[in-house]
Symmetry: C2
Subunit: 128 residues, 2 copies
């Protein structure tokens, strides 16, 4: 169960404090810079495709088991498995994006992504 | 980037050949048997909740970069990042389920899951 990053997020979001708590809550467009070794795995991806992006939320606290959802102290303490918090035992982010352009052989521009610059990318899948 | 399994799938699906290619294409109900160490992370999960389950597809071939979607040879060879194939560099499964019952402190019964018995579970998140 060892992960190999397949690429990295390029984004104007530079710090965790800048990232919105929820998708599409003002997330900027971003570029998925995929490693050249995985160029073939991008075959037939086109603008307009909806993809699921899995990321490794590398700044997360892996020891947190409960939190207040959306950092809202008025909300009751809740198990992290019933939240979208990035603090969790395996900090894998799940993001739904639309491809807006292919840039060169191995980069994809996407409409909105709530992950900061430098976040490792683990996987892409076609969305259902 | 090291993964810690948080539990295991218990299912009547015993072999990869039995698992449907697509979610809800006849997938049976299943039990998410979560390790006791993560009981607190399940706090407030209730029947009716819709969750995203991340699994480690432990029988996958990690070297495959292209395939025919749904194992249909009439479909053109496509990069795995534009498919849902389990064969991919980081074989993480993304499944959407509905919790139908809590069983004891750390097991969740879910309505349908296309992962075989023994598949390691990596994460649960509330679905959007």
């Amino acid at each position: 169960m060892e992960l190999r990053p397949i690429g990295v997020v390029r984004s104007s979001l530079r710090e965790r404090a800048d990232a919105p708590n929820q998708p599409h809550a003002g997330a900027p467009e971003a570029v998925l810079a995929i490693d050249d070794a995985y160029a073939d795995a991008l075959n037939r991806i086109e603008p307009g495709d909806e993809l699921i992006v899995l990321t490794w939320l590398h700044l997360a606290d892996l020891e947190v088991l409960q939190c207040h959802p959306q950092d809202d102290e008025r909300k009751p303490l809740t198990g992290v498995f019933r939240t979208r918090s990035s603090d969790r035992p395996n900090p894998i982010g799940v993001h739904r994006v639309t491809v807006t352009a292919r840039e060169g052989a191995t980069a994809l521009r996407v409409n909105a992504l709530e992950a900061i610059d430098g976040t490792p990318i683990l996987d892409l899948k076609v969305a259902l």
